[in-house]
């Protein structure tokens, strides 16, 4: 069948393209150009494409499959980069990879795949899509260390029906690299991507300050009683749970950020709450009418917490208090299966 593969130029999506091609499908590689690489690297007039796009083209050429580069700069700027900065300015913790999956990979790219008459969209994500009695289910990857299910909770059921994740069943990254080497792909030894793709220097505070200068205005660091402990250089440099850059409050963590007063409130490290309200929920099951026990993850890399989920109300009651950062995702699991989730209010 005709399958569109989202090719980033990395080893994972390259292996996906290779495996599907070997399996006899008509593979169409598509790379989204998300930002002007020349501008990101600070080189005026440089070629607009980064090395990753050239790598994707080289892999497609090696495999002998069609490959296209799609200009997604506008959509990425609006839905991911601007949303990233806006999130900081609102005192929230952004999750740009979720926004990118939601709006670009499973939004615009999936639409393109449909327009091209493809029957599926495959990506290099480490998750599994299993067929259950009530339709396709989203599950954690076999390789727990690589699992990306947390980042894909916002995938809707109809998007999931169209999606394929061939790497979810791989035992390890080493196995993926071995496949790449076996197929002679020029990216077999390429380093894994790091951090946030559109912040090559790692200095996200610069981007936030440029897009939202208000988030770079100084303010007070206060304790729970409102006593001023120190000053800060902009709420865009802080997220809830952060222990760095606290000056005289070192040893504590950020517990609350108030964008209106630009106050950063700190508290002891064990601070937390039991009740979490969610917005923009996406449920991958028919919501049970009664609250339902399950496990939740409040950040990408942490052990899951037992909780009681009220699907209809979009609220979560944790068995033990934990720190929930507004803006982050709360993803609900039943064993390996992702039941959905929402953004923490």
């Amino acid at each position: 069948m005709r399958v569109v593969v989202a090719m980033s130029g990395g080893v994972d999506s390259s292996v996906v393209a290779g495996l599907l091609h070997e399996a006899g499908h008509e593979v169409i590689g598509v790379t989204l150009q998300l930002y002007d690489h020349g501008a990101a690297a600070g080189r005026k007039g440089a070629c607009c494409a980064g090395q990753d796009i050239h790598d994707a083209r080289n892999v497609a050429d090696r495999l002998g499959i069609a490959h296209y580069v799609i200009d997604s700069e506008q959509a990425f700027r609006r839905n991911v980069i601007q949303a990233f900065a806006d999130s900081y300015a609102a005192g929230q913790t952004p999750v740009p990879c979720v926004a990118c999956n939601q709006h670009l990979k499973f939004g615009d790219l999936l639409g393109l795949a449909h327009d091209l008459g493809a029957e599926a969209l495959a990506t290099g994500h480490y998750v599994r899509r299993e067929d259950g009695p009530a339709g396709p289910e989203l599950h954690r990857a076999v390789d727990d260390a690589r699992d990306q299910s947390w980042f894909l909770f916002a995938t809707t059921r109809s998007q999931l029906a169209f999606a394929r994740f061939p790497l979810g069943a791989m035992a390890s990254k080493a196995e993926v690299r071995a496949e790449a080497a076996r197929m002679g792909l020029p990216v077999a030894d390429k380093a894994d991507s790091q951090d946030i793709c559109f912040v090559p220097s790692g200095s996200y505070a610069d981007i936030v300050a440029r897009l939202r200068p208000d988030a770079a205005a100084p303010g007070d660091i206060v304790d729970a009683e409102g006593r001023v402990l120190d000053r800060h250089q902009g709420i865009g440099r802080y997220t809830v749970g952060q222990a760095k850059r606290l000056g005289a409050a070192t040893g504590q963590i950020v517990t609350r950020i108030d964008p209106a007063t630009r106050r950063i409130e700190v508290g002891p490290r064990h601070t937390g709450s039991q009740k979490i309200l969610l917005r923009d929920c996406n449920w991958l099951i028919d919501s049970p009418a009664e609250p339902h026990p399950a496990m939740v993850k409040l950040r990408a890399r942490e052990a899951p917490h037992p909780a009681l989920i009220d699907f209809a109300a979009g609220s979560v009651t944790l068995a033990q208090p934990a720190l929930a950062a507004p803006g982050q995702a709360c993803v609900v699991y039943d064993g390996t299966r992702v039941l959905g989730g929402g953004f923490i209010q």
């Binding site: 494409a49 796009i53 050239h54 296209y68 327009d115 091209l116 029906a161 169209f162």
Partner: protein, 384 residues
């Protein structure tokens, strides 16, 4: 790659014209040539090829052979014209120019853009105002646009330029060989040509000059003083031989035939609801620019490619990314600019091309515009 059942149908001649057999033969014959600057008989034989080629191309441009400077292509010819003729002059460039004009003019730091009308033709009244405001300018305009095929009225423009002590450089990359016009005779100072846009090989081009200015040209590349000191470097003889052979074999019957096929495509596309960009202006016989509202050009180009039909859209950068067309932007097309593809017929376009194109075009439009309920795709078939 899974290839379509039939050979790809090439409708992207404005990106690169199909190589003409006469050009291929001339290239092969010149591959063993010596250096045309050498004294010995083999050098003389090479020089013979070079100068015969120069005569052939100059004749086609109604120019003297000694006024033709071979370059690596139209990009270099345009850059040389701006460098040599535009020094210390204001630069007036058309709003729909190719980057080969736009980029060097902007790099010079004194480019002024001349607007076009909604049909893509240069706005003569605006040009006259700008000429009056910028006396003694170098005006750089393409004779025919690469994306729409829209033709600027070079004789009228040349007359305006002369009235304001301006000189006119014409980028004839798309029009040479396709239009039987004479820009130099109309008063242009120089003409940029590209071999591969008229059926020769890539890697050759020319700047053809009016006699009065031909000898005082400051080179971009100094080197060994080749081309009478106007362009250093050993000329690419096989490419130049192919260039000349291509221009020599273009017959008068070619354009009317392509126009007939192009008009069939226009009629069929209109019937499918497409808009023809620049249809009210004179256009190249082989070119049409079709837009379907709310259907992104990149989707159309990819869908047609998968159906075995090669067309293009916008300006492709080296990443292969399809970017929004500045040409269509300049025509004030707004959102429609994102939805236009260019169909450009090569000299050997088969007679069934309109039928094959329209068939695939209809399929891709129908599929994308009638986004049916996608739930039918829910049947889960494992892929690996």
């Amino acid at each position: 790659m899974v290839l379509p059942a039939t050979d790809p149908l090439y409708l992207d001649a404005n990106a690169s014209e199909t190589l003409r057999p006469a050009a291929r033969a001339a290239i092969l014959a010149a591959l063993d040539a010596a250096n045309p600057a050498s004294i010995h008989r083999l050098g003389r034989a090479a020089r013979h090829i070079l100068e015969k080629s120069r005569e052939t191309i100059a004749l086609h441009c109604h120019a003297r052979p000694q006024d033709l400077v071979f370059t690596s292509g139209a990009t270099e010819a345009n850059a040389l014209a701006i460098h040599a003729l535009g020094a210390n002059r204001p630069l007036l460039i058309g709003a729909t120019e190719h980057d080969a004009i736009r980029a060097p003019a902007q790099a010079a730091g004194r480019a002024v853009t001349v607007p076009v009308t909604r049909s893509g033709v240069i706005d003569l009244a605006a040009l006259e105002r700008l000429l009056a405001a910028h006396q003694g300018a170098l005006v750089c305009l393409m004779e025919a646009n690469n994306e729409t095929g829209v033709i600027h009225p070079i004789p009228a423009i040349a007359t305006l330029c002369a009235a304001h002590q301006a000189i006119l450089h014409v980028d004839a990359a798309q029009s040479a060989g396709r239009l039987r016009t004479d820009p130099l005779g109309a008063g242009a100072a120089s003409l940029a040509l590209s071999s591969h846009k008229l059926g020769g090989p890539k890697g050759a081009g020319a700047l053809v000059l009016a006699p009065a200015i031909a000898d005082r040209l400051t080179p971009l590349i100094i080197g060994g003083g080749q081309e009478r000191g106007r362009r250093g470097g050993t000329p690419d003889l096989p490419a130049i031989a192919g260039f000349a052979a291509a221009i020599a074999v273009i017959g008068p019957e070619e354009a009317p035939r392509l126009q007939r096929l192009r008009d069939q495509i226009d009629d069929g596309a209109r019937a499918l609801g497409a808009e023809i960009i620049g249809q009210d202006a004179p256009r190249l016989p082989n070119t049409t620019c079709l837009a379907v509202r709310s259907l992104p050009a990149q989707t159309q180009v990819i869908a047609l490619d998968l159906a075995g039909i090669a067309v293009s859209a916008g300006s492709a950068c080296s990443s292969g990314k399809v970017a929004r067309s500045p040409v269509l932007d300049a025509m004030g097309l707004d959102a429609l600019a994102d939805c236009a593809i260019r169909v450009s017929l090569p000299w050997n376009c088969p007679d069934d091309a309109p039928m094959r194109f329209l068939d695939a075009y209809q399929n891709s439009i129908t599929r994308a515009l009638h986004k049916a309920d996608r739930s039918h795709i829910a049947s889960a078939e494992p892929v690996v």
